[in-house]
């Protein structure tokens, strides 16, 4: 599955393949060359004299380039190949480029037949895990040193053009080279695969728009070096933290994506392969996590999502005025409105989160102009909370899809259909008021009040928002707190009844600050108690709940981003030991994933498996998980911008030893933060 595939990528352009470089896509194997939410190669299979190739080693460093060292035939105990093959690939200038070298290790000249089988299904990424019969027409054209594969449906068209630097015999199913290689010599050809989105006049739609040319692999190498150089430097006695920090920094760099709307800025794409696109929640939360290391992502995210803010009532897209989008897709499904993704607005959390990010971004960067420029959007978002989010008029954000065919039933971050349930397993009856949505609304109102007072010159509005926030806090405590269990209900159902499952969601309430201080201890005890805490992190749903499953995406698995927000929330309430335990568990887990925290991993108890078990179909890299380590660091070091200063109060578990985060950027310029994990005194 995905996690075993290897990748090169540049934002929303990427290649996923087997570890020998081949692409053989099936519904259960989401490999391919992808761009613009569409697959542009579904078969890319190399043989040498009819033999498949086997990887000896693989050099994968930075997502920009990838090198495979291969020998023909199946692996045996003793490989004594007379020939070998090197495949070097990159995304360069938006093109998938592969350099093939055949090496003859023999003492005599050898004739080789090099064959590359090529095909494509032009599947929308959304549909690559399904059997689908596309309504359009496929075509293949053989041109001078080129093979052109195409798909046309009315005026909609996609083309893949494969070209070769060396002469090849080209047929509709691939390229064949018949070459003689001298003893101890090599032969090389360079293949370029271009993804085209033609207009009826043959020109690529994207080339008609103002944007910079896609960067070459060499430029991207330089850019990556500059990015790492610009970011704060982390030094830590515990290698695991340093490794996951570096890995995350590189992964975050490769997830940067410049949308057509904002050609000169970069926001984080949400993850590979399923969500390499503009999203609301993932982009906002990743940008929030990354504020201490890469605040420019927040600025781009706020601009992009502001431009795309909802402005009408549109049932198909679940759109309302002021709402922030869930995701945007360029695929065939979006074009023909088989899916509402152009854009889709079915998220109930993105709108308050937008306000939260705008305020937090200003606190870090001091960019008051941004807060003034996006006043209209922020006010529209705050208006949405009460006018459109509050479905029953009882003062709580709820959700209910109006697009009953393709809309989402659950519109919080746990958006799978069975994620929101009672302890006994019954699903919550709609329209559901998730607990964390109320926390976000509370936080958004208070932050809106700050912006209204300090930047918009509207103290009356500020007071109104503060009154509303105070009333919400009181109401929330009355309606969501389950007194005899000592935790918050996961949600209220459509009849206002508490949905009583014990879940990680209430950890977000600590981040939002809606929890009265006297309840924080009890909440923390549950989050770090044996039912929710696996030893590697906080599970999405507690053991003992009827729907708990250690492999359940939103009902048992551990999500690093969720844990990072929880750790930060605990820290806000002064629960530094608890925050440290979560940070330590997550960083410890990262060692089993080569420093790359996955989207989610299984919720098995630590004692049972001894290592964190990979979740089968998760995105990798996934932006929110990539950002988790930055927010965990913020929690460990207690970083909080205040006026022109960055306040810090490190509290680091002994395992970490010394933690230094140097050159943290912000309105203060650059500042160093140093924390030391002190060993507890011996008893």
């Amino acid at each position: 599955m995905t996690s075993n595939l290897v990748r090169v990528m540049d934002g929303n352009i990427f290649v996923l393949s087997e570890d020998n470089g081949d692409i053989e896509a099936t519904p259960s194997n989401p490999s391919g060359f992808f761009d613009f939410d569409t697959r542009f190669l579904s078969l890319w299979r190399l043989t040498l004299d009819g033999d498949r190739l086997h990887p000896l080693s693989l050099a994968e460093r930075d997502h920009v380039t990838l090198r495979f060292f291969l020998v023909p035939g199946a692996p045996t105990h003793y490989v004594d190949a007379k020939s070998s093959v090197i495949r070097e690939r990159s995304i360069t200038g938006g093109v998938f480029e592969e350099r093939l070298t055949v090496l003859n290790h023999d003492r005599v000249p050898v004739d080789f037949t090099v064959r590359l089988d090529v095909a494509n299904d032009f599947a929308p990424i959304r549909a690559i895990d399904q059997e689908r019969t596309p309504p359009g027409r496929f075509y293949q054209r053989i041109e001078e040193r080129r093979l052109r594969l195409g798909y046309r449906r009315e005026r909609f068209q996609r083309e893949t053009v494969v070209s070769s630097s060396e002469p090849a015999r080209i047929d509709e199913r691939g390229l064949t080279y018949a070459v003689r290689v001298a003893p101890k010599q090599g032969w090389t050809t360079t293949l370029r695969v271009r993804s085209l989105v033609p207009r009826p006049d043959g020109r690529d739609v994207r080339e008609q728009l103002d944007r910079r040319p896609r960067r070459s692999a060499a430029e991207r190498h330089q850019d990556l070096a500059a990015w790492v150089d610009r970011a704060p430097q982390l030094c830590c006695d515990w290698d695991a933290l340093t490794n996951t920090y570096r890995r995350s920094m590189v992964d975050l760099a490769s997830l940067r994506y410049s949308p057509l709307t904002l050609p000169d800025e970069a926001m984080p794409a949400a993850g590979l392969p399923w969500v390499a696109t503009i999203t609301g929640r993932d982009a906002i939360l990743t940008s929030f996590e990354a504020l201490p290391v890469a605040p420019e992502l927040a600025t781009a995210t706020l601009r992009m999502l502001g431009i795309d803010q909802g402005s009408v009532l549109d049932d198909f897209r679940d759109e309302e005025p002021g709402k922030i989008l869930r995701e945007f897709r360029y695929s065939e499904l979006a074009a023909f409105e088989e899916r509402p993704d152009s854009p889709y607005f079915g998220s109930a959390d993105t709108t308050p989160l937008y306000v939260i990010l705008l305020d937090e971004c200003e606190k870090w960067t001091g960019d008051a102009d941004l807060v003034r420029e996006y006043e209209h959007e922020a006010r529209a978002a705050l208006h949405w909370i009460d006018e459109y989010g509050d479905l029953l008029g009882d003062g709580y954000i709820r959700y209910l899809r109006r697009n009953e065919q393709a809309g989402l039933e659950n519109q919080g971050w746990k958006d799978s259909p069975e994620a929101i349930c009672h302890a006994d397993g019954r699903l919550a009856a709609p329209p559901v008021a998730l607990c964390e949505l109320q926390g976000y609304a509370y936080d958004a109102k208070l932050r809106g009040a700050r912006m209204a007072r300090e930047f918009w010159g509207d103290p009356v509005y500020a007071e109104q928002l503060e009154r509303e926030a105070a009333a919400l806090r009181e109401r929330f405590d009355r309606d969501f707190w389950i007194a005899d269990r000592g935790y918050y209900a996961l949600a209220l159902d459509g009849d206002g009844r508490q949905v009583d499952a014990l879940a990680s969601n209430m950890g977000h309430l600590l981040w939002s600050g809606i929890v009265p201080p006297e309840r924080a201890g009890e909440v923390a005890q549950h989050l770090l108690g044996p039912r929710l805490f696996s030893g590697w992190g906080v599970r999405t749903l507690a053991e003992g709940q009827a729907r708990y499953n250690p492999l359940g995406y939103h009902v048992g698995a551990v999500w690093p981003f969720d844990n990072a927000l929880i750790a930060w929330g605990l820290r806000r309430y002064g629960l530094v030991g608890e925050a440290g335990r979560i940070a330590e568990a997550l960083v410890d887990a990262s060692r089993y994933f080569q420093g790359r925290l996955p989207e989610a991993f299984a919720g098995y108890p630590r004692e049972l498996t001894r290592y964190p078990v990979r979740y089968p179909t998760a995105n990798s890299p996934q932006a929110m998980a990539t950002g988790a380590v930055f927010l965990l660091l913020r929690a460990l070091l207690g970083l909080e911008p205040s006026g022109e200063h960055l306040l810090m109060s490190p509290s680091v578990p002994p395992r970490f030893g010394r933690v230094e985060l140097l050159d943290v950027p912000g309105r203060w310029g650059r500042i160093d933060v140093i924390g030391i994990g002190l060993a507890r005194p011996r008893a």
């Binding site: 049932d315 029953l392 008029g393």
Partner: protein, 125 residues
Amino acid sequence: MSDPIEAYFAQLARRPPERLHRRTTGTIRFELDGPDGVDIWHLTIADGRVTVCRERRDADTVFRTDRGFFVRMTRGEAKPLPAWLRNDITAEGRFHFVILLERLFPAPAGGRHPRAVAGGRGERG
């Protein structure tokens, strides 16, 4: 004024959509293919106002489609973004204004307030 396209632009100039941001500034040109050739409509957007003229001036974004499809957009029957993805309209220049088109044309008919769908249970307290 019986021509729906002329009526649409006249209305746009007279009463620009409230959804248009005051800070939106720019120029767009529509080239509409019809049986009698190409109609040019040039829009200047500034301070929440739209000025319309028929001259072929430079524009930040140039849109091209046929008259029939354009009329469907003026009625809220077709959405600009999916239309661009299908090549029913083409765009040159700044993509930003493709997004903006959504604010220049009417909303699709039949959009419901979420509270109406939720059944309007309870009143705001």
